[in-house]
Symmetry: C3
Subunit: 264 residues, 3 copies
């Protein structure tokens, strides 16, 4: 993952303005949509079983986030994931709080079997999805990203896709190559939906680049760099959220090329 | 539509503080409620089938926005629209992404048959509702407002109400008189829920003025002028949203009277 | 209620970072979560019937807010309240718009029979829950907090818990001791979800302090003081919301100890 790929990814995102179909939790829908708009993507929040498959078939990418899932939206998620697979459309699974709650843990297992292009979560969630841990409490993570490295690699090999683990340093792996993204700000963890918005940006970048590993890394770098800019300007978590959206918008390819990204 | 009517509309809105019953999509509920509060109206987000008819009967106006509709909320929308009609209460239909998705397109046809006081959408949506187009992708519009003028006029004559088409220049028509509202800011299109909030402000102004054409124009002018103020103060789409709410609050009748409004 | 208790409450909140399980309305989920994060608590928005009982059993406190309730979420609320009772976990009932709508008024009666640790609402809502009034329109209140004092005291004795009434001066009572909290800002009433976020902070503080009366008073004082700080910095309701979150975050025990709190 070199600077040229990151710079190109930013241009591809702007040029393609991918339509990201989000089936996400009701807490973060607005913030997620605003983050997608800020980077130049087009959000659409369609989570009815009556519409999910129809829309997934025409979207550039699909995000499935189980944060406030229940029976109806679970069915929409299954339909959207299958439609994305049939259409060859990349889709991202964000297994919020999986491991700690039975219903969504069972659902995540079903969805993983459908082989998501990317799984993105914190260490506890990735450990739970990989079957190697008991999960966290809500969206917190009690493990570091590196604690989940082996599980993430194994999971990536199983799905044939990419797995991203958020933490102080983020990990992105396709089971063979692992990329670490540093930087960011602790204020991201004090902002509801920052991690969920990251999942949506992963979907946007994967669609724009056509490459799951590059796209996932670019999204993580974009989020981290914008957080650093916003943290400098913010007086607390409230003003940070607005500044972060401004910074997501302002960040260009040259800035992205300077991200703290290390491949191993 | 003269300056005096617009100035009076602002005063009527402040004086009556209309209670706007919103059945709207979960993405924009908070932003819509904050926009209504900012202009001096009272929002209430009641979208349960168990409550929709009971509440529509006592509200000053009703907003039906199909952005994240599914079976349960569709039923609540039908009940609310019928209750509004029985009570003689004005109601606004915002056909988000109609045309592109079968379920909501069928629902919109049902709702249009109930003759909404105002239909507000972008050109693609209005074309789709009028049966003259295939709709857009999500909330984007691939047509200009003027492309939808003939369809909007025909639709207004069919419903006996008003139809508003958002675009770089907005159009509002009752099938006979057409009013164009200029100004605004491109940042509105980068803010999730700005168009949906406009639909709610239309409902508020129509209730306050008792005149669908004047109320719909006043709401569009209020939104456009506040966007210009906010765009001057904002550093990007994140800070714009908060500044726009501040500007909605601050805008008085004299400012509204100076809006770029042309009648033909 | 003395300054020492308030100072201690702030420390206990920071030290324990209580996990607050929120079953709340979809309008305010994001703002509520951000308010909890701002004060140092951990939010989790879990409102599926499939998960509500399982999560309530492990949470530090539970919030039940009926703002956009419907059949499915009503069932989740019943399950969560029962699970909280079985686990000895404190839970807060926020009876939004109860009195004005039959479905939620019946539900609130059921929930009150389960004896919530705290009931928090405006005067109209508390009067309605106590069976002494006809309720308000939406989240507005047409009565002052003191109008609801007798009803609040009676309700507190019936539930064996605490009842809080929001108003220009807030009242908190356990049926014997009544505490009044002054200060705050009118901008709180122009911000969607400020009252609902207060309900969540009550849950957090009650869990942190282990004392329903002290915790409820501390939450009200925290909200009021932060609102005063934010009102000084804000230019309107939009910028106020972000400043309020910043101020919630920044407020320490010494500041809380200086709140306008009077016991009678």
């Amino acid at each position: 993952m070199d600077a040229t790929s990151l710079r190109a990814a930013r241009t591809q995102l702007t040029d393609t303005a991918p339509l990201v179909h989000c089936l996400t939790n009701t807490v973060v829908q607005a913030f997620t949509a605003n983050a997608l708009l800020a980077v130049g993507a087009a959000p659409a929040m369609v989570d009815a079983p009556e519409e999910a498959a129809e829309f997934a078939a025409v979207a550039s990418a699909v995000l499935v986030n189980v944060g406030t899932v229940h029976a109806r939206t679970a069915e929409a998620m299954r339909l959207a994931a299958r439609a994305a697979n049939e259409a060859g459309t990349p889709w991202v699974l964000d297994p919020v709080a999986v491991g700690g709650l039975s219903f969504r843990t069972d659902l995540a297992a079903e969805l993983v079997a459908l082989r998501p292009t990317v799984v993105r979560g914190n260490a506890s969630e990735v450990l739970a999805v990989a079957g190697a841990g008991a999960g966290g409490r809500g969206v917190d993570s009690t493990a570091t990203a590196d604690d989940a490295l082996a599980a993430a690699e194994e999971l990536a090999r199983r799905t044939g896709g990419v797995v991203a683990v958020s933490g102080e340093v983020d990990l992105v792996t396709d089971g063979t190559t692992t990329v670490r993204i540093g930087g960011g700000s602790a204020l991201l963890t004090r902002t509801t939906g920052a991690g969920c918005a990251l999942g949506a940006l992963v979907a946007a970048y994967v669609a724009a680049t056509g490459d799951p590993l590059t796209g996932t890394v670019a999204a993580h770098a974009h989020v981290a760099l914008a957080a650093e800019v916003a943290a400098d300007l913010a007086d607390g978590p409230g003003t940070f959220a607005a500044q972060w959206l401004d910074a997501l918008d302002a960040l260009d390819g040259d800035s992205l090329a300077g991200a703290d990204v290390r491949t191993s």
